[in-house]
């Protein structure tokens, strides 16, 4: 059976549309409202949800995602609760889900057991920020548990020969980080995105999505013209933060995300 991620990209390919991918941190601001936020994203028409597994020391994340993780942890988030939330979301939605995580929490949970439980809960892919393919190949306990698609990251400074190696071990799609730096909103898009995406595509037939620093409908539309998908994270996380105490949090998130989705689909 084809994975939800692969089905989604195949459908978009026939429609000649780019995917809109939303990142939110699981458990932010708390378990219940984090689930409401996921449903709001679904209503707004996102094609895939990246669910952040909160970690105490997120070195690849900027301040917005750090604060989200700490709000989540303060409200009692855990790996177990993240998976339980995905399971509840799956009762009502078939939108593909990718777990966006650092290694230590899932290492602690049990690497293989995590993959099994996450797949059983309804997750489709995993993006491990601090687990490069090189390490996965040689650490016995990290041998690819293949229930989830392994989403790989490529950075602007990844050399060509390394791109070739990374894409081989990837599945589902390739996540191109459009700039050197941590996650976070930026006013300007990075330069050279189009050329980099073309470069990556010369090594793989996997879809290539672009993230890091994309925050407005204008950015989204521009990137949708160059890549197979657009990832918006910190801008949505900031919206969650701003309205985390409001009763209408989910609507606020919907109102923020809908124009981003529409802009992506306008291309």
């Amino acid at each position: 059976m084809q994975n939800r991620i692969e089905q989604m990209f195949e459908k978009l390919r026939t429609e000649k549309k780019a995917a809109f991918i939303a990142y939110v941190c699981s458990g932010d601001p708390d378990t219940e409202r984090s689930l409401e936020v996921m449903h709001a994203l679904a209503r707004a028409g996102v094609d895939l949800i990246e669910t952040g597994v909160p970690f105490s020391d997120p070195v690849a994340d900027g301040i917005a995602n750090q604060m989200a993780a700490s709000r989540a942890l303060n409200s009692g988030a855990s790996v177990k609760k993240t998976l339980a939330t995905i399971k509840r979301f799956r009762e009502k939605s078939e939108i593909p889900i990718v777990l966006f995580t650092y290694l230590n929490p899932i290492y602690s949970y049990g690497f293989k057991r995590f993959h099994e439980d996450a797949a059983a809960a309804g997750a489709d892919g995993i993006l491990n920020l601090d687990l490069p393919p090189d390490e996965e190949e040689i650490n016995e306990e990290l041998l690819q548990a293949n229930m989830l698609l392994n989403i790989r990251i490529i950075a602007p400074n990844t050399p060509a020969e390394r791109i070739a190696k990374i894409v081989k071990s990837g599945a589902g799609f390739i996540y191109y980080i459009s700039r050197e730096g941590v996650t976070g909103e930026r006013s300007e898009l990075a330069s050279g995105i189009s050329r980099q995406v073309t470069d990556i595509k010369s090594h793989t037939s996997l879809p290539v999505v672009v993230g890091f620093g994309i925050s407005t409908p204008e950015h989204s539309a521009a990137v949708a013209g160059m890549a197979d998908g657009v990832v918006v994270g910190s801008a949505i996380v900031n919206t969650v933060a701003k309205h985390s105490l409001s009763a209408d949090l989910a609507d606020r998130v919907y109102n923020f995300v809908k124009p981003l989705v529409d802009a992506t689909k306008s291309v």
Binding site: F55, S56, D57, P58, V59, A60, G62, Q66, S70, L73, S78, V79, K80, Y102, L103, N104, P105, I106, Y107, S108, Y109, L129, D130, L131, P132, D134, E135, I138, N139, I153, I154, A155, P156, N157, T158, P159, R162, I166, I177, E180, G181, V182
Partner: protein
């Protein structure tokens, strides 16, 4: 005798057995690979070694003495104790051995901006110093809590032209400073070299920092053979990340008769959040680029740590220490805040040398060990740093006085 060498070089990705490695975001892979390659080239280059040796001799102040602690040995009534006097180095601690090595490497890499993390401030001061000496821009990340308890070193870094950035995340100590330094590096990787201060983090740092600190053990080995015509029974050093310890231990690894003791920070006792003794209360995990023993809860979240010593107040231990412990080559114990402060006072009073609070943990280990070894025993303790930076904190703890008002 076993023909398995107890200290293999790590593999190409920096693994010491199952420990170490390169668990980093993709954005850093290119920089780390470049750094590892340049370091290998530098190692083969006689001119690099020549310049480093020259700077260590003429600027840093090597070799350091191996001082016989005559009165303290007598007081403890056991082994003869020698102190390897890294406190006498320029800037007051062993940290500058590594900072000097890495700044020469940064020159080769063509970078013009240096960043570093610091806990006690000794590594920050050492880095700011070599940056001033070689004309590099310098940014030091330091937890807000550490900036308070090590205010003297903050001022020193500023005199030396470094920008000291307060880190306000989490528990505002060393771990968070490393996180911020890594974020800076990810963002500015094209222009910036990160001078990591301990035998920690992703490959090539644990190996490279160890190599730059090995000079401690190489000198100590030569000196003890001259003085005592024999090898010591024990080497003792405090272990935060573990750079001063690995620097002393490593050149003795082939000397099977020499035992090695690393002393971690026991803080207020081995209870969750009250200490930094990773081998005592920790488990296997991955943090800040390396697989090693660390303090984490059941969910894999990194736990709070505590130590009176900012330099030991850190949740993970250097991966090579974890490896050496596994193969039975090294052993580890811990000293509580109170034990470290007792050793601090005793050595100040009896030997006239005021240790850093980090160093005092190693000394506390010696206090227990020396009587057990008896009169025939011989110990070298790494006197990793001097206590000037800790004056305010120690005075408060010992006299209950706020010396700086």
């Amino acid at each position: 005798m076993s023909n398995i060498t107890p200290h293999p070089q790590p593999d190409a990705l920096g693994h010491f057995g199952t420990y170490g490695g390169m668990f980093v975001p993709e954005t850093l892979m290119a920089a780390l690979t470049e750094l590892a390659a340049e370091y290998e080239r530098a190692k083969q280059d006689p001119l690099f070694k020549e310049e480093l040796d020259f700077m260590l001799r003429e600027y840093v102040g090597r070799p350091t003495p191996l001082t016989f602690a005559e009165r303290w040995s007598e007081e403890l009534g056991g082994a003869r104790i020698y102190l390897k006097r890294e406190d006498l180095l320029h800037t007051g601690a062993h940290k500058i051995n590594n900072a000097m090595g890495q700044i020469l490497l940064a020159k080769r890499l063509g970078k013009d901006r240096i960043i570093a993390e610091t806990g006690a401030g000794q590594h920050g001061v050492a880095t700011a110093t070599v940056c001033a000496r070689f004309g590099f821009k310098c940014v030091i990340y330091m937890g807000e809590v550490d900036m308070e308890r090590q205010a003297l070193n903050v001022a020193r870094m500023r005199f030396l032209g470094a920008e000291v950035c307060a880190v306000t995340a989490g528990q505002r100590t060393l771990k968070e400073a490393v996180n911020e330094a890594m974020r800076d590096w990810v963002t500015n990787v094209g222009t910036t070299h990160y001078i990591l201060g301990s035998a920690l983090g992703s490959h090539p740092y644990p190996m490279m920092v160890r190599d730059f600190q090995r000079v401690i053990g190489e000198e100590a080995r030569r000196q003890i053979l001259e003085r005592e015509q024999r090898l010591p029974d024990y080497l003792v050093a405090c272990v935060g990340g573990g750079s001063n310890a690995i620097g002393l231990f490593h050149p003795f690894l082939d000397d099977k008769s020499v035992k090695m003791l690393g002393v971690e920070a026991g803080g207020r006792g081995i209870r969750r959040g009250e200490h930094a003794a990773r081998f005592e209360g920790g488990k296997l995990g991955v943090l800040q680029g390396t697989k090693t023993w660390l303090l984490a809860d059941d969910d894999g979240q990194i736990e709070l740590t505590h130590s009176v010593s900012a330099g030991l107040d850190y949740a993970a231990v250097g991966p090579e220490h974890a490896f050496l412990k596994d193969i039975g080559r090294t052993e580890y114990s811990y000293a509580t805040d109170a034990e470290a402060l007792e050793a601090f006072q005793e050595v100040s009073l009896i030997e006239g040398i005021i240790p850093a609070l980090e160093t005092a943990h190693g000394l506390a280990g010696v206090r227990k060990l020396a009587p057990e070894l008896g009169k025939d025993g011989l110990i070298i303790c790494n006197f990793s740093g001097r206590g000037d930076k800790d004056v305010a904190q120690a005075a408060k703890a010992i006299f209950g006085e706020d010396v700086f008002g």
